[in-house]
Symmetry: C2
Subunit: 406 residues, 2 copies
């Protein structure tokens, strides 16, 4: 038995670990705190999951396709699922084939693979600001520099924003955390800048199916489709997933991009997890073929639209004096900014937890961690009465936080 | 529509991509070539998978645990599965709790997370030589330096090997590719060196259940258990998976290590894929609880033992003049070295493919890519008559390769 009385020095962990945060972990764990109203995180409403149907499809997938579900699969994903995604996103102008598609282990893996294939220390990322926390997590080991893009600002210059960056990161549909929809002229300008500069343009689109009003705007991917024959070869790297449309537990996402990018991402995936779960992929394929996502979408939209309205009404009733916000047209979040500049939303989080409500402070969506004026509220997980109770508690927490500032 | 007639310069991919190989991809694709005898790769025999039982368990897991199977789960894994793994590997001397266990998306992810938390550019890895190709893939983006460890050599000095390395990498049970079993004295010496130097010691153990003769040797993890109370806090980082014991398609693996290492790996996993598939984890939990792996193991061992014997008999009949090898006591591979120094096994691969047999050349198991004297043959995927046919073809390919050298 080794002598453990003399402690030995262990090698240091990589420096990025000391800069990392435990916010996602706190969000995922907040669901376990009794009585807490969880307005943080971005969790879906579980009652919309077609449980019995998925159970039947899972059993049938294993029984009829044991090799594909239980064996190792091709690194870029099951061919039939890649083909289905290619067909689903093709349009008259946008020609996609299997070579344009990589299946990932959830949307998060797509982000991490992009970092792996493009980022070197000091590399530059142009990121829509405020930025998705998970993307910042995924790229943290590479310690990139960030150039913030305020796409909705009057002075936004897409060409200057993209020039010299390894890639630009956008969530055009109901950005996490801001809930904003990037308008058509800005979409066109971003795509034109990507073509002109050569910079890869990520279109992260987890919320693209969650439009509560109006017609969906064209994707950057569609706007970037060229006149040349053959499969898509443009600069947009589109990322989708089944987490919001079907169920996050499957961990099935996809990237649609130029074949050279898909090949590079597949090489990176080989060293990340070899291949995604065959069972999950086959279940996703069967669910899409059976039209489940299309069938449950009206119910999902009705529930989420009503909850968005309930949250915004409760905010109007309890928080209008303290916060400013815009009602989002889709997605899962309302972004609110404190009217009083003394309100530090990092401090507010502690008061909120004491009052029994969890929110996401703006600092976690800022690569520098400096923005402490805003917060993100999720409306998809809780029913209307809980959303209202959360707003009541948040109003009390704001009183307490402001009282602390004197 | 953007003008695509003027090509734009795209940002360069990260340099490691130009050093990467497509060998794993070729191995996984070799299964699709008609008539090819695939002795490369490390694929299991699919007939041992308990298909109907897993189909029933999958449906039942979704129906009875929709939140755990279809929702986001905790980053380090389902608590019940972590507890089961902790209990399964605990002994009288080795006390493991949930904090010692991280669930990963297959064994490959465990390797990639280790790189993320420990490796910085130029970092040093002491690696058992020849080394598992997948580990080299996982760490390639970090461009580590490698210090080869020939553990079976008479002059092997574990203390000198481990000193100054961020971690040491070993596969003590039937190493991939060499098939070697690290003997007890070397195990003890490695563990003592890890305690003395502080260097983390990876025990990668995908083949630990595949002993065809004799009693399993104690794990490095067990040998490293200390006299102190409380959960394990030693330097061994143990990696296991269900890929060989049950089915690789689930992509369920685990790491057992000191709580500080588990916490660091979980932070890295947050930015890699958020959490592993809840469906896969719950299915793994149910399968382990139902004792399926224990029940199918005798059949798995009988099939693989017979195939090992068949391959070695066929090698004796057809290849004894050209190759030297040791009969492995377990695992999935026979490692063979050319008697004639003119035989370059990279060149041999091309001749072998022309003859209809696929093998793994030694260069891919060497971080420098220089070792071209040996090759790895897999015996788990093919029945005896195919193994013999593969050896006949390989003998012809060796003739052709040697004729080419003149």
């Amino acid at each position: 038995m080794p002598d453990q009385t003399v402690p030995t020095m262990r090698p240091a962990f990589a420096p990025w670990l000391s800069r990392s945060n435990d916010v996602t972990s706190v969000f995922l764990a907040a669901g376990q705190v009794p009585g807490l109203v969880n307005l943080a995180g971005g969790l879906p409403e579980p009652s919309v999951w077609p449980v019995a149907e998925l159970a039947g499809l899972a059993a049938e997938a294993i029984r009829s396709h044991p090799d594909e579900t239980l064996g190792y699969g091709p690194i870029p994903g099951l061919p039939a699922l890649r083909d289905l995604i290619a067909a689903r996103f093709s349009t008259d102008a946008l020609r996609l084939s299997r070579e344009n598609v990589l299946i990932t282990t959830g949307g998060m893996q797509a982000l991490e693979l992009m970092g792996k294939v493009l980022l070197q220390p000091g590399g530059l990322v142009a990121a829509q600001s405020p930025a998705y926390l998970g993307a910042l997590d995924a790229w943290m080991p590479h310690a990139p520099r960030y150039r913030p893009m305020r796409i909705e600002g009057n002075d936004f210059d897409p060409h200057a924003a993209l020039a010299g960056a390894q890639f630009a990161y956008t969530v055009p549909n109901f950005s996490n955390p801001s809930g904003r929809l990037v308008a058509l002229p800005e979409r066109q300008a971003l795509v034109a800048a990507a073509h002109a500069t050569g910079t890869w343009l990520i279109e992260d689109d987890p919320y693209g199916a969650l439009y509560y009003e109006g017609e969906p705007l064209p994707r950057l991917l569609e706007l970037s489709a060229g006149a040349r024959p053959g499969p898509y070869d443009g600069p947009v790297v589109y990322m989708g997933s089944l987490s919001k449309e079907l169920a996050p537990g499957l961990r099935v996402g996809w990237v649609i991009a130029a074949p050279e990018m898909i090949a590079a991402l597949a090489t990176a995936k080989q060293g990340s997890d070899m291949c995604s779960s065959g069972l999950s992929q086959m279940l996703a394929l069967r669910a899409l073929q059976a039209g489940i996502t299309d069938r449950i979408r009206p119910e999902v939209l009705a529930i989420y639209r009503a909850r968005r309205d309930a949250l915004c009404a409760a905010m109007q009733a309890h928080l209008a004096g303290d916060l400013d916000w815009q009602v989002p047209v889709g997605g899962m979040f309302v972004w609110a900014t404190a009217r009083d500049p003394r309100l530090d939303t990092d401090r507010l989080l502690h008061h909120a937890m004491a009052e029994g409500v969890c929110i996401s402070p703006s600092s976690v969506f800022d690569p520098e961690g400096l923005d402490r004026r805003s917060l993100r509220l999720n409306f998809t997980l809780n029913p209307p009465e809980r959303l209202e109770e959360g707003c009541r508690r948040l109003a009390r927490a704001i009183r307490a936080a402001l009282a602390e500032t004197g």
